[in-house]
Amino acid sequence: MSLIDIFQHLLPGIGKTIGIFVCTLVFSMPLGMIIAFGRMSKCFILRNVVKLYISVMRGTPLMLQLMVVYFGPYFIFRIQISSSYRLYAVLIAFALNYAAYFAEIYRGGIESMPQGQYEAAQLLGYGKGQTFFKIILPQVMKRILPAVTNEVITLVKDTSLAFSIAYTEMFTMAKALASSQTSVLPFVAAGIFYYVFNLLVAVVMEKLEKKLSYYR
């Protein structure tokens, strides 16, 4: 089997890998913002509940979290799970895990904003929502972009963890193919795929950074 044949073989898995990647970003980035606000809340209980959540999400392996989300319903509640639940389990675990990381990135960005920006906005009569969305958020975006790039690149590689609950994304397929063909070539193909994917991510993020470099 040539590399091209292998890629053709892996194509369905590549689609699924990209699916996990896109869905995780779409769900976890807004969710992270909500969690960040909870983490910065004035309410003691909310703040500490969120703190605990972030601590658990960052302190345990994503692989374990995947298993808990996938097998948990059956072992805890004796709910029969269907095979279609596998994809949902992957998306739930990834979104919850990445939202925790994004929340901390957002918080760092928001808390690094100088107080003077809020004061100037207040004096000019901007409301709380206007101040956040027009003045604070655009500047926070610029500040956190390098950290977000890091996280997105990690996510590309982390999609391979879905194999732990036998979800047939690209890496799971590559492994199966490698055993059946007794060849390492599928792993080479997988490596090339992740690298090129991340090269693309890096280029896009660099473009974004350049676009925002018109001010300091």
């Binding site: 100088p114 003077g116 004096l123 000019l124 901007y126 206007q130 027009k134 300091r216």
Partner: protein, 251 residues
């Protein structure tokens, strides 16, 4: 009276920064507040502009009570009233606080358009007029990071003026600037004096304060130690004032 501050007290972690300060400002008046660092000048301005809450006393704008103290807690006027009160004053900060992601013209026009909901063309025409007055007509599309400190401060002044405030506060507007840039900013503030805008200026520029002000307030240790016309204050036989001025002359 445009602004009345009565018996204002402010306390930071057990330290009395403002101790029973009363101050009123008439329409069209220019008042300079001078005094040594830590005497409470900036805190007084921050209380007047409600960036800081007060621990005692009351503040009234145009006869409308804006904030007062009940049971040791500050109480603000109702929301709609507060909105009207807030729109009658502006503040120019020591470190400008321009919005770095907005161009010069956006910095000036955004609040009039999106807060005051005024017509775009009208706001832009007025903003360009203001920029001309500030000598910055060619900087309309520049970003704050491309400007000098003096230019930034002039944009900040234009931004505050664009909302047509009745009273404009300046919190040490030239303290972050070198002497050359200080001159250009003071010139602009002087030109505003001719426009009959009410101004309250916290400053360390003594000769500027003497020239421009109708009234000078000398603050020391959280109280108004001396108050009067520039001639009265600068000529007063007041020990602390003389010490303070003496130190300035040495510089």
């Amino acid at each position: 009276m445009l602004l009345e501050m009565n018996h204002i007290r402010k306390n930071f972690d057990g330290v009395d920064v403002l101790r029973d300060i009363s101050l009123s400002v008439k329409q069209g008046e220019i008042v300079s507040i001078i005094g040594p660092s830590g005497s409470g000048k900036s805190t007084l301005l921050r209380c007047a502009t409600m960036l800081e809450t007060i621990d005692g006393g009351e503040i009234t704008y145009m006869g409308e009570k804006a904030v007062w103290v009940e049971n040791k807690k500050p109480v603000f006027a109702k929301k709609d009233k507060m909105k009207a009160i807030r729109s009658c004053y502006g503040l120019v900060f020591q470190n400008f606080n321009l919005f770095p992601h907005y161009s010069v013209i956006q910095n000036i026009t955004d609040a009039p358009i999106h807060v005051q909901k005024r017509k775009k063309d009208e706001v832009f025409a007025e903003a360009r007029e203001l920029l001309k007055k500030m000598g910055l007509s060619d900087k309309e599309n520049a970003y704050p990071c491309q400007l000098s400190g003096g230019q930034c401060q002039r944009v900040a002044i234009a931004r505050a003026l664009a909302l047509n405030p009745k009273i404009l506060f300046f919190d040490e507007p030239t303290s972050a600037l070198d002497p050359e840039l200080t001159g250009e900013v003071l010139k602009v503030i002087r030109s505003l004096a001719d426009l009959d805008i009410t101004m309250v200026i916290v400053t360390h520029e003594m000769s500027f304060a003497r020239d421009i002000s109708d009234r000078i307030i000398f603050m020391d240790g959280g109280v108004i130690a001396l108050e009067g016309s520039p001639e009265e204050v600068f000529g007063a036989e007041h020990t602390r004032m003389k010490e303070f001025l003496g130190r300035f002359r040495e510089k």
